[in-house]
């Protein structure tokens, strides 16, 4: 009998505990599913937990987690942060920079010579090497070692970094791409002229769950309707926009609506809104699902999402979503599912939220539509089929 395929995942961090973002969670979940199918899976990553400091906090070496052989390699020291931030700030301001300057940026980003050395000597043992997200130097340099067996799982956004020459070269050099949603693939094709036949849309499966909204409301003494947001709280995620919109919504409409937040990150709410925010910080998955199920809507004001696990979870909890229209992926999910609305500005947000508050039957119908969409498109069985098809090409 032929031995099962041997797959490596490469990512700057391995998702363990609450501090790791969506892309890392996605990679780990996909790795776990392959293990469950009897595939051999290695996860090559660094010893870092913090994506700002990149300090080596984990012991280098190998351990087996949920059947995945996780190999931690130390992050290189001696980063020139001045040079890194100098180039990064110019990229962020869309100032044209040379390829050499891009390389300065990559060299002073997160790197691990130990990981590269391992890939150089052992990389040929893997049938496929899946790497992501695209933005980190570790992925950029690692992808050059065995490009013929590398699949990029980029988690691509329409942002200044995606237009760099070196990033374009990386996309064009690897053997294929795994995208989270169709708009992400369309963006990559538009930016880099990729061959669509070498790309696959896989995404991430969402585990089925049951939720109890009453239990959540009772535990927190919530009687008024509320909007929920789960995830990192930061300007890139649109948190300040959500706080302002909700504050003005309360002021203009006179409706007593609360805001429930789960996740991490500092934020500075308008004074009048502060008493109406229930900030739960990190919560258990069950608590998060209960909170989602009881909400009038899940609001995701980010314009930079390549997938958005939380809106899919919200739909699975039976709650409709309100998303920013400027992103590509979330409005796409809303259109496809009939489970959400998308706003461009405050007046549209006000009309949409008022509609959901005033018509519970609409809220229910949209929640049901979203739930059906997630069950059809993002059940693990469906995602596994897409993933294995892509890997066995």
């Amino acid at each position: 009998m032929a031995s099962p395929p041997h797959i490596a995942f490469v990512s700057p961090r391995f998702s363990e505990g609450p501090t790791v973002g969506g892309a890392e969670t996605l990679l780990r979940k996909l790795a776990e599913r392959l293990v469950s199918k009897g595939w051999q899976v290695d996860f090559l990553t660094t010893c870092a937990r913090n994506h700002f400091t990149w300090d080596n906090e984990i012991e280098p070496g190998e351990k087996v987690i949920e059947g995945i052989t996780v190999r931690h390699f130390p992050v290189d020291g001696g980063r020139d942060l001045t040079a890194f931030f100098d180039v990064q700030s110019r990229i962020s301001r869309s100032v044209k920079i040379t390829r050499d300057e891009e390389l300065i940026w990559h060299r002073n980003n997160v790197n691990s010579q130990a990981l590269y050395a391992y890939l150089r000597t052992e990389g040929h043992r893997y049938d496929k090497i899946i790497m992501g997200p695209y933005l980190f130097a570790l992925v950029y340099f690692a992808s050059q070692i065995h490009p013929e067996r590398t699949l990029l799982l980029p988690c691509l956004h329409d942002e200044c970094f995606s237009t760099l020459k070196t990033i374009r070269e990386m996309f064009l050099s690897v053997s294929g791409w795994l995208f989270n949603a169709e708009p992400e693939r369309d963006l990559a094709i538009k930016l880099y002229g990729l061959d669509p036949s070498r790309s696959d849309v896989v995404g991430m499966g969402i585990e089925a769950f049951t939720a109890n909204p009453d239990r959540f409301r009772q535990r927190h003494g919530l009687t008024a309707p509320y909007v929920i947001y789960s995830g990192r709280r930061e300007p890139m995620k649109g948190t300040p926009l959500l706080l302002d919109y909700l504050d003005i919504f309360r002021e203009r409409t006179g409706k007593d609506i609360k805001l429930v937040l789960t996740g991490s990150g500092p934020y500075d709410p308008p004074t009048r809104l502060a008493p109406h925010i229930l900030d739960l910080g990190f919560v258990t998955e069950q608590e998060k699902h209960d909170a989602m199920a009881g909400a009038a809507a899940f609001c995701h004001p980010s314009t930079n999402e390549s997938f958005s696990i939380v809106i899919l979870e919200s739909w699975l909890a039976g709650t409709p979503v309100l998303v920013h229209a400027a992103g590509e992926v979330m409005p796409f999910h809303c259109r496809k599912s009939n489970g959400g609305l998308w706003f461009r500005n405050y007046p549209e947000f006000e009309e949409q939220l008022s509609l959901l508050l005033d018509y519970p039957e609409l809220r229910t119908a949209m929640g049901v539509a979203g739930q059906r969409y997630v069950q059809d498109e993002y059940a693990w069985k469906t995602v596994e089929t897409r993933l294995m098809k892509a890997l066995l090409k």
Binding site: P235, L241, D244, C334, N345, E348, L355, A369
Partner: protein, 150 residues
């Protein structure tokens, strides 16, 4: 089944249609002046990057900004909600205001000057770019008209 300003049919709802209806409603309400004012300018302060792609809304935002730009530094009617000692409290508040006014008037008027200058600069930049785009479009049309057919 009709349930209000939307339809829930056998296949559920049509969010594309709901969104289109909402946009129509918003456009009508904007025309009627339902959203003009400082509140809207404040609401969109973190949304400007996204609004730049939406020319009509940007015009509307500028209008709201014009309404919001100047801080009202004039005198206002001083009242007291509590009935007991109301005349005394009003007199006390008036005294405090007259003292504060002396200190804050200069500060607020300078702030108004800065706000006004920033608004003028923004309008000027906006006008300049619009003129530039218009003249480039005219030039392009002229050059295209000189091209041989086909």
């Amino acid at each position: 089944m009709s349930t209000g300003p939307f339809e829930i049919g056998a296949t559920g709802v049509d969010v594309e249609r709901i969104n289109a209806d909402i946009r129509e409603t918003v456009a009508a309400k904007m025309k009627a002046g339902a959203y003009v004012g400082a509140q809207l300018a404040r609401a969109e302060r973190f949304n400007l990057m996204n609004l730049k792609k939406d020319e009509n809304f940007f015009d509307f935002y500028m209008e709201s900004l014009r309404e919001a730009v100047y801080v009202d530094i004039n005198d206002f009617e001083i009242r007291e909600r509590r009935a007991m000692f109301a005349p005394l409290l009003v007199r006390l508040k008036k005294t405090i205001w007259s003292l504060l006014k002396f200190y804050t008037y200069r500060l607020w008027s300078q702030q108004n000057q800065v706000n006004g200058l920033l608004l003028s600069a923004t309008e000027e930049v906006d006008r300049k770019y619009r003129d530039q785009i218009k003249s480039l479009e005219a030039r392009l049309a002229k050059l295209e008209s000189k091209l041989p057919p086909g």
